[in-house]
């Protein structure tokens, strides 16, 4: 059962972790979150809604790491854009992690702010504030050319 649950969600989790902290640490973040579930519950089957719970945990794990080592960049490995504008790509990387999470969940995943809130562990109004702040920064970069 646990294998099936994990298999269903692992792709989304590793992609989300990569967006939040970068490819170098994404695997470790996902491992830490899953390991913590096992430590506390012994199984993934007890989770009512695994996807929101695990994605929320990933965001909090990344925030915790950035607080523990504020001087270290979240993206410690240089990564390159493929098709996007380099300045926009860099601007997305420079967003605070909560704003990047909100924009990823709503823009790329297509969630409503209510859905994103349940995946981030905050209120919908907070998600909308993150979106507003993040969009404002990215709009400045996009409009620069």
């Amino acid at each position: 059962m646990d294998e099936a649950i994990y298999r269903e969600h692992k792709g989304a989790l590793i992609r989300y972790a990569t967006v939040l902290i970068g490819p170098s640490d994404a695997e470790d973040v996902v491992s830490s979150v899953i390991a913590r579930v096992y430590k506390n519950r012994q199984t993934l089957s007890d989770l009512d809604e695994p996807r929101p719970y695990l994605m929320k945990s990933i965001l909090h794990e990344v925030i915790d790491r950035s607080r523990r080592a504020p001087s270290l960049p979240l993206f410690d490995q240089a990564i390159e854009p493929r098709d996007s504008r380099p300045d926009v790509f860099d601007a997305v990387l420079e967003l605070p992690v909560t704003q990047r999470a909100a924009i990823y969940l709503t823009y790329w995943i297509g969630m409503t702010s209510d859905e994103a809130a349940s995946h981030m562990g905050c209120r919908p109004a907070t998600v909308r504030r993150y979106l507003h702040l993040g969009r404002k920064k990215l709009e400045e970069v996009v409009d620069r050319v």
Partner: protein, 393 residues
């Protein structure tokens, strides 16, 4: 929010997501961490090249084995033995997993036929979808799209629920517009599904989309790996990618150490990550390539064909990590991932465990490359297992 802003943000997010590594295996997490077979690669160039050579012997040997078998059969395992020893698939979605090229779309009675071969001849990716266990991703011939959350098959119906998203590049070609419109219309909903080993048809109200399964081996093109050495084509031989320390060196110097390279060409901005260089042999064929600039930490991702590395059969396979196998479709450059997979491969107790590994390989196939089917991967893994697992039968 303007369309331009949304488009640019989505492109950046797609690029960022594209760098995702394979997810760790649950059994590794529960055991306390990923399995590591070998130490970090040596920082000495010759040692790395030796490791690459050893790895390539393995790859060439396997490629030869596969090539021998491919002549008479589409896979290296005969159908009877596969059927008798492989556990039945629990999830009907599993038979859809892999990449499918669009062959035609019919919208309100008007059919548009897609000639995938023509796209490939022009160096373009044909319209296609790749089915994963939790989402679908694809390319319309112009735009990238994705949908999921979750997907599943029941009673002949494919459900692609939850979300759908697409980039917004303007596309002038009528056939591409037809494909894009038809696919976009069914993503996020349900379609009637007809599927066989080689073909798949999605039907929904007045839309019908037909696909044919992509044979990873038949493509024989180097997928767009992160450093985009797109000119490197190793034909029927294997390509190997190794990390080469770049401190105190430059890309041209690294390439000149590959036997057979007599000239260097490049493009982009030398000394930066925006540039690419490749080495040519006397006939002008590209036999190796790498990014022109270093990355942090300074490392060159050198890709080269087996013959250009002077590979001879019978070398020791010790330290064989970090292979990137061209023909076999196991697109994965990470040495640590391969180390873990070698352990899993050689300790698998039965075909069911081997199939789990095959599904992982397909799921964790590097984005941007064409994943093989689980069946093809299973066959490849069995050949690999026979080649490298000494104690296995």
């Amino acid at each position: 929010v303007s369309d331009d802003l949304t488009h640019e943000i989505n492109l950046a997010l797609a690029d960022l997501e594209w760098h995702a590594p394979p997810a760790p295996a649950l059994r590794d997490i529960r055991a306390g961490g990923p399995v590591r077979l070998t130490a970090e690669p040596s920082r000495h160039w010759t040692a790395i090249l030796f490791a690459a050579a050893a790895a390539t012997v393995l790859v060439v040997g396997v490629a030869t084995l596969v090539a021998r078998n491919v002549g008479s059969s589409p896979t290296v395992v005969d159908e009877a033995s596969t059927t008798s020893t492989t556990a039945p698939l629990e999830d009907p979605l599993a038979q859809l997993m892999g990449t499918w090229t669009v062959t035609s779309v019919t919208v309100r009675g008007t059919t548009t036929t897609i000639d995938a071969a023509a796209f490939i001849e022009e160096g373009r990716t044909p319209p296609q979808v790749t089915v994963f266990d939790d989402h679908i991703r694809g390319f319309s011939g112009c735009n990238d799209f994705a949908a999921g959350g979750p997907i599943g098959v029941a009673g002949g119906v494919l459900t692609i629920g939850g979300y759908r998203t697409i980039t917004a590049v303007g596309c002038p070609e009528a056939d591409v517009i037809a494909v894009e419109g038809a696919i976009w219309a069914v993503l996020g909903g349900e379609v009637q599904l007809e599927v066989s080993q080689e073909t798949m048809v999605w039907s929904a109200s007045d839309i019908e989309i037909s696909f044919t399964r992509v044979d990873a081996r038949s493509l024989a093109i180097l997928p767009s790996w992160p450093m985009s050495v797109g000119r490197l084509d190793c034909g029927s031989d294997a390509a190997v990618t190794v990390d080469v320390p770049g401190e105190g060196s430059d890309a041209a110097t690294v390439l000149r150490q590959v036997p057979g390279v007599v000239s260097i060409e490049g493009e982009g901005v030398p000394g930066t990550e925006d540039g690419f260089v490749w080495g040519l042999d006397e006939s002008g064929t590209v036999i190796a390539g790498t990014a022109a600039g270093g990355v942090q930490p300074p490392v060159f991702h050198l890709s080269a064909c087996a013959p250009s590395l002077g590979i001879r059969p019978g070398a020791d396979l010790t330290g064989a990590v970090g292979t990137w196998v061209n023909r076999l479709g196991l697109g994965q450059t990470s040495a640590s991932v391969w180390s873990g997979r070698f352990v899993e491969l050689c300790t698998a107790q039965n075909d069911s465990q081997l199939r789990d590994l095959a599904v992982d390989v397909v799921n964790e196939h590097l984005s941007g490359a064409t994943p093989p089917t689980p069946d093809d991967t299973m066959a490849t893994l069995q050949v690999l297992r026979a080649a490298i697992c000494k104690s296995s039968t």
